[in-house]
Symmetry: none
Subunit: 192 residues, 2 copies
């Protein structure tokens, strides 16, 4: 998108590399912002220049929050794939055993295999359920904490509002010269 096509490899000339970095960096961040707005998605973008300077963009107020979410996501994924892999492994092992030992599987052997598979399945499901339950418990706990915190804050705010009048009276009473400053003090006490 310039006067000529550009090869996709490191720009050797330091100066023009710097210029390109500056231009394309802002372009990239702009694009990221557009995507997050247009499609209502969360985006985190981190860029380290070769000089070690940090440039960042995040769709929400906190990049760290998105990165946390990323970590959580990865953990869940690896957890899930671990379960699947285990189930697959035992299934495969069982099949090998059965196939190597049998010309024709007997009813009993099939039955054993079924039981084992059944167990594996139940375990997998239990693990998933557990993960979900843990999430839910955490969620509920946080909700409680949040409510408590809210109440506390409201109480505090109410208390602050009540105390405004006293301060105004006390200072204004002793020295009328302070009136000019009182407005600041009052404003202060009004800041929620």
């Amino acid at each position: 998108m310039g006067r000529r096509k550009v090869e996709m490899k490191r720009i050797e000339d330091k100066s023009s590399r710097q210029v390109t970095f500056s231009k394309r960096r802002s372009g990239l961040i702009k694009k990221a912002r557009q995507l997050s707005v247009l499609c209502d998605v969360e985006i985190a973008l981190v860029i380290f220049s070769s000089g070690g300077k940090l440039y960042e963009f995040s769709s929400s107020e906190s990049l760290a929050r998105i990165l946390e979410r990323y970590h959580r996501h990865c953990e869940l994924e690896s957890e899930a794939s671990k379960n699947v892999n285990e189930a697959l492994r035992s299934y495969t092992e069982l099949l090998h055993i059965v196939q190597s030992q049998l010309e024709e599987p007997t009813v009993e052997q099939l039955s054993v295999m079924e039981k084992q598979l059944d167990t594996a399945l139940l375990e997998t499901r239990a693990r998933k359920t557990q993960l979900m339950m843990e999430s839910i418990m955490t969620l509920q706990e946080k909700e409680k904490l949040l409510k408590a915190e809210n109440e506390l804050l409201e109480t505090e705010i109410a208390a602050m509002d009540k105390n405004e009048d006293k301060n105004e009276v006390v200072i204004g009473f002793n020295d009328p010269k302070h009136l000019g400053h009182l407005s600041q003090l009052q404003t202060l006490s009004l800041l929620r």
Copy 2:
């Protein structure tokens, strides 16, 4: 860059929002890759679709490494701001000492005190607000993840139920007695 200019706001039509997300997402990742190659810089890009699906790009082999670097960077920054805060604190202490030694505070001293109180109050409130916001965001986050996980589970279960019949036929062919167990067996083999 299309048939017409697009307003920079959330695309309301779900279908076209999805299409745009798909197109622009790949465009953004492509741009990120180009920037990292052309200018030899480290880039980490994380995108969460509204459905909770993760898309990512990183210039180096490990996104986690870049994020670690990011965290280190932030820690250094917060270290610096900590120093500033400490300086502020000692300044405040000094003021307290001075004020406690004076019989009658001067207008100027009161004024300074007011400002400091103001700052302290604002900081405290901002901190509380921040804490609340963080809690809320986390809560919402978990809700999203939970929903996504639920959907996944439901999909899996639905798929499991669907596929039962096939296996029943195969195994049931040899021994009809096993029908009762087959449903579980098949469910297992469906585990990804």
